[in-house]
């Protein structure tokens, strides 16, 4: 019984939200759309987990850093938190990549104008 894993996940989520806040990427860009994407993402992954658990593929470990609290057979409390983190991480990486891609050519063009 431990809370290390859960705390790490919550810290990870906090970091994603800080990045989101700093660069206005996801929730701080369009909160309603972000909420829908997050809900769809977490439910999609949970459905996948449920299917894997149902087919007997996914098994919970006895790791000492987990709380051991189960929401359903083989589905620990930490799993939806992890899936939330995965969804946020995915969206922050994507929106961040879009930002970088849209900045890069703009800067180049700006430099070209300055050189001309």
């Amino acid at each position: 019984m431990g809370v290390l894993y859960l705390v790490s996940l919550l810290l990870g989520i906090t970091c994603m939200l800080l990045l989101d806040h700093r660069f206005r990427l996801f929730f701080w860009h369009d909160a309603k759309a972000a909420a829908i994407v997050t809900a769809v993402g977490v439910l999609f992954f949970l459905g996948w987990d449920a299917a894997g658990i149902g087919l007997g593929i996914f098994l919970r470990g006895e790791g000492t850093i987990a709380t051991g609290i189960l929401l359903a057979p083989e589905l620990p409390l930490e799993e939806p938190v992890f899936l939330l983190f995965l969804t946020l991480c995915t969206m922050v990486l994507y929106t961040g990549a879009r930002r970088l891609l849209s900045l890069a050519p703009g800067k180049r063009r700006q430099r070209e104008r300055e050189n001309a």
Binding site: F45, W48, A51, L59, M91, A97, L101
Partner: protein
């Protein structure tokens, strides 16, 4: 290997959703940058997965049944685990792009009225005709109400009809313009700017239910769901247009109503008995007769629009007679089923009485059969009532 198939299924669903979302959501020239960003994000996610999945497995947070996985690993992470970030990064950014674009004022006002239109288009008065066969077939087999029964009944009540009539109205737009009968209880004209959103709505409301129902059953359920979904699409979609192919039109239309029952039986794992097969065959004949008779009233507009149907090909009189004979055969077939099935023979009587006055109808007077067609829609409720009484009797006799 099981995990690989599972991952494949979910990744495939994610790719389809991602591509559809991206096509709907991308502004001109935005698509390339979208997929570049998806690629970059996946590269980063793959590295993170390799590292942290290994750490999490190393810490014994979870593990896998080794008989279900390929055995290829990156660090400690099984190769299949990379399917999670792949599916997420393919589907979710597309959804994001589509949602944030949709929320831009212009697109938003255009979609106004989609859901009310979709509901009107789906003929709520006939929803019960597809939900009832599924629910009855499944309940009479399993004798209990579980989540699959509730989910499946809801699916065949609303999303299934949204798809069937939504797709139909999109591809029927041209011919419906010429038909004054559309626009009320029997159908609604769908504005062209709602055509693409309507098809998207049909896909989004159907695919998840089909996947879950498929997971709840075995190969028989997969096959019957596939036939059911195919019949829904093939009936009206451009290129197939089974509704314009005489005889095939009646067969497909009947499949729309019989296949939900077959899906229910397949998911419930019913025993295939001669009595059950006769019952399904009688139901199928009933459905064919219903479709053929319904086509008679549209002979004139269909011919003017250059559309073929069983009625335009064999003529009004012979179609009406065929329908009456099919109902008669369906009723008589029920006499061959175990008790209390033979009671169902009386259900054929009102249909025959309703249509017999048109025994000598001609192509020019065919439109008059609309009177009988309107009665037909309500007759179905009476038949449903009688069928339910027979099912209750069957239930009490066999429990």
């Amino acid at each position: 290997m099981t995990y690989l198939w599972l991952a494949f299924l979910f990744v495939a669903a994610a790719i389809v959703a991602g591509v559809v979302f991206a096509r709907q959501g991308a502004r001109t020239g935005e698509s390339r940058r979208h997929w570049q960003a998806v690629g970059l994000a996946f590269a980063a996610l793959a590295v993170l997965t390799a590292v942290f999945d290994s750490v999490m497995i190393g810490m014994e947070l979870f593990h896998y049944d080794s008989s279900h996985i390929l055995g290829l690993t990156v660090g400690l992470a099984p190769l299949e685990d990379f399917a999670y970030p792949l599916a997420g990064v393919v589907a979710l950014p597309g959804l994001w792009m589509w949602l944030s674009r949709r929320r831009d004022a212009v697109a938003k006002s255009n979609l106004k009225g989609l859901v009310p239109q979709a509901i009107l288009a789906s003929r709520p008065v006939s929803w019960i005709n597809t939900a009832y066969p599924f629910a009855a077939a499944m309940l009479l087999t399993t004798r209990e109400i579980d989540w699959v029964l509730i989910l499946g009944t809801f699916y065949f009540l609303i999303p299934y009809n949204l798809a069937m009539y939504g797709i139909n109205d999109v591809f029927d737009y041209e011919s419906d313009l010429k038909n004054p009968r559309k626009g009320g209880i029997e159908g609604a004209l769908l504005q062209p700017h709602l055509h693409r959103p309507m098809l998207l709505l049909a896909a989004l409301t159907n695919v998840p239910f089909l996947l879950v129902l498929a997971l709840a059953g075995g190969p028989a359920a997969w096959l019957s769901l596939a036939v059911s979904a195919f019949a829904v699409v093939a009936y009206s979609v451009a290129g197939l247009r089974f509704k314009e192919r005489p005889v095939l039109d009646s067969l497909t239309s009947s499949t729309h109503f019989v296949s939900p029952a077959v899906v229910g039986l397949a998911i419930a794992g019913a025993d295939v008995t001669p009595g059950l097969l006769i019952l399904l065959a009688a139901f199928f004949l009933w459905g064919m007769a219903a479709h053929a008779f319904g086509a008679v009233q549209d002979i004139e507009p269909d011919r003017q629009a250059g559309i073929g149907s069983i009625a335009t090909v064999i003529g009004a009189r012979r179609t009406v007679r065929l329908a009456v004979v099919l109902w008669l055969v369906a009723g008589l077939a029920m006499l061959a089923t175990p008790w209390p099935g033979p009671l169902a023979v009386i259900i054929a009587v009102p249909y025959i009485v309703n249509c017999a006055p048109y025994w000598n109808v001609t192509d020019t007077t065919a439109a008059r059969t609309n009177t009988a067609w309107r009665r037909f829609i309500w007759l179905n409720y009476g038949s449903g009532f009688l069928v339910t009484l027979i099912f209750i009797l069957h239930w009490s006799l066999t429990s």
